[in-house]
């Protein structure tokens, strides 16, 4: 089966007909594979998917996300993860197994408005997604600049095997943490690099559907550094 070129599609548009597998953002209707969202169609090895250009964030297992603490109960924190579902961070994840709701005070560790890098442990949609902050590179964020982009464009910002983000990081010497939910923390020792990295991220968001975006970003990073 030949690989077709990427095409712009809108909901209801027939991408291909025939023996294909309907994957992400597509459905099978009779013999046709139909797009369910606005995006770029990708036909590869007999499977069809649509890379979305719009839409919110829907939690998936193992996603790395950046969230903001909204409130807490006796047993857990509620985290805004920029989605229609609120994240739950259990107190035992921070205090350990001998957590006691009588002696431990949740707000002593994480207060309202604190930002955390977390991983989603369980997102089955029957209840709110469960988060964890125990792990390498997870936990409370102390410094950096927060940037919001559309969650549908996160994949573009990371690029194929991280090519795009690596290019921005090496071009600006900034450290960038990308949450799958569209929140990004940029930290950099010099302010020029910081501004340039933020500019680059914003450019990726604006031109996510353009084909030679990597070259454009590369040009931008090189011009500014002279």
């Amino acid at each position: 089966m030949t690989n077709e070129k990427k095409r712009h599609v809108i909901p209801g548009e027939i991408i291909v007909s025939g023996p294909y597998r309907a994957e992400q953002n597509t459905i099978m209707e009779g013999n046709n594979i139909i797009a369910t969202t606005i995006g770029l169609s990708d036909v590869h090895d007999g499977s069809v998917r649509v890379i979305p250009l719009t839409g919110g964030y829907y939690p998936k297992d193992d996603d790395l996300i950046i969230g903001k603490i909204v409130s807490h109960s006796a047993m857990s924190w509620e985290v805004d993860i920029n989605s229609c579902y609120a994240g739950m961070l259990p107190a035992t994840d921070v205090f350990g197994r001998d957590f006691s709701s009588h002696s431990d005070n949740l707000s002593s560790k994480l207060g309202n408005g604190d930002l955390i890098v977390a991983r989603i442990v369980n997102a089955d949609k029957t209840r709110d997604p469960l988060l964890t902050i125990s792990g390498r590179e997870l936990g409370k964020i102390d410094s950096g600049e927060l940037v919001y982009i559309s969650p549908s464009k996160v994949a573009r910002l990371i690029g194929k095997r991280g090519s795009m983000i690596q290019m921005i990081e090496s071009g600006t010497h900034a450290q960038i943490t990308i949450g799958q939910n569209g929140l990004i923390v940029v930290s950099c020792e010099n302010s020029d690099g910081l501004l340039k990295a933020i500019k680059a991220i914003e450019l990726v968001e604006e031109k996510a559907h353009v084909a030679n975006l990597t070259d454009q970003i590369n040009d931008m990073l090189e011009i500014k550094s002279d």
């Binding site: 369910t36 606005i38 719009t54 829907y58 229609c84 029957t126």
Partner: protein, 245 residues
């Protein structure tokens, strides 16, 4: 049969209607997607003299909580006419007519929107009629489906709306306000063009079985024309910036 007595000539001897259209011609439709910053998705539609703004929020938390469904997301629609949308000031409180239209639009969109993917959430669609000139329900439905697509809510197809009807004993496409008031029948249709399915069908007035079949036929044809404009509105927003692939 039917219709009110007026001195307007709905159809002249050359087959030209009161606003200069032919019998199987729609009014001029223009749609712009993504006009509101604070909504997740939005659209502005001009359907002849109708001007409608649509905002979509969601999927988001359901309030009040008891409305939420653990198996699926829910769709809520509000069709509302601004006080200045018609000749005489309209009371802004929801009328019987607006409640009904909100309901039929909701039911016309439901087959297209795939809400099963988002249990315990709601998608809210707000349709604000800024100026009304007959056929607002079809126009609002058309705009709402563009706004839903703009919000990135998964859909099986877009829903296009267009009315057919009967005035001066002739079957006509896209009934305007004069033809609605003085004509004999109005048949609004909501249609999913790729799936070839009708999602909205109402009839106000009297048609013979033959006229009814003719109305459905030209109505679907009108929906297909409207669909092309919906498609273009979304393509203009998402694919026009920068180079093409």
């Amino acid at each position: 049969m039917g219709g009110r007595d007026t001195d307007i000539v709905l159809l002249d001897e050359n087959g030209i209607r009161c606003d200069g259209r032919k019998i199987n011609e729609t009014r001029k439709v223009s749609i712009k997607a993504g006009v509101l910053k604070n909504a997740n998705g939005s659209a502005y539609i001009e359907f002849g003299q109708n001007k409608i703004l649509v905002g979509v929020y969601g999927p988001r938390d359901v309030h009040p909580k008891h409305l939420s469904d653990t198996d699926t997301g829910i769709l809520r629609c509000r069709y509302h006419m601004a006080p200045f949308s018609v000749g005489e000031r309209k009371n802004p409180a929801p009328s019987r007519r607006e409640v009904e239209i909100s309901k039929v639009i909701k039911e016309a969109l439901e087959p297209a929107v795939m809400l099963k993917q988002f249990p315990r959430t709601a998608v809210d669609v707000f349709m604000e009629i800024l100026q009304a000139d007959g056929g607002t329900r079809c126009a609002a439905l058309t705009g709402a489906s563009v706004a839903l697509a703009d919000a990135g809510i998964p859909m099986r197809d877009l829903v296009a709306g267009c009315a057919a009807g009967k005035a001066a004993d002739t079957v006509i496409l896209d009934v305007n306000n004069e033809e609605d008031q003085a004509g004999q029948a109005d048949l609004p249709i909501g249609y999913m063009p790729n799936l070839e399915k009708i999602t909205l069908l109402q009839l106000d007035g009297v048609l013979t079985p033959d006229e009814y079949k003719k109305c459905i036929e030209i109505g679907i044809d009108g929906c297909k024309q409207v669909y092309e404009i919906q498609k273009k509105a979304l393509q203009d927003k998402y694919f026009s910036k920068g180079d093409d692939d």
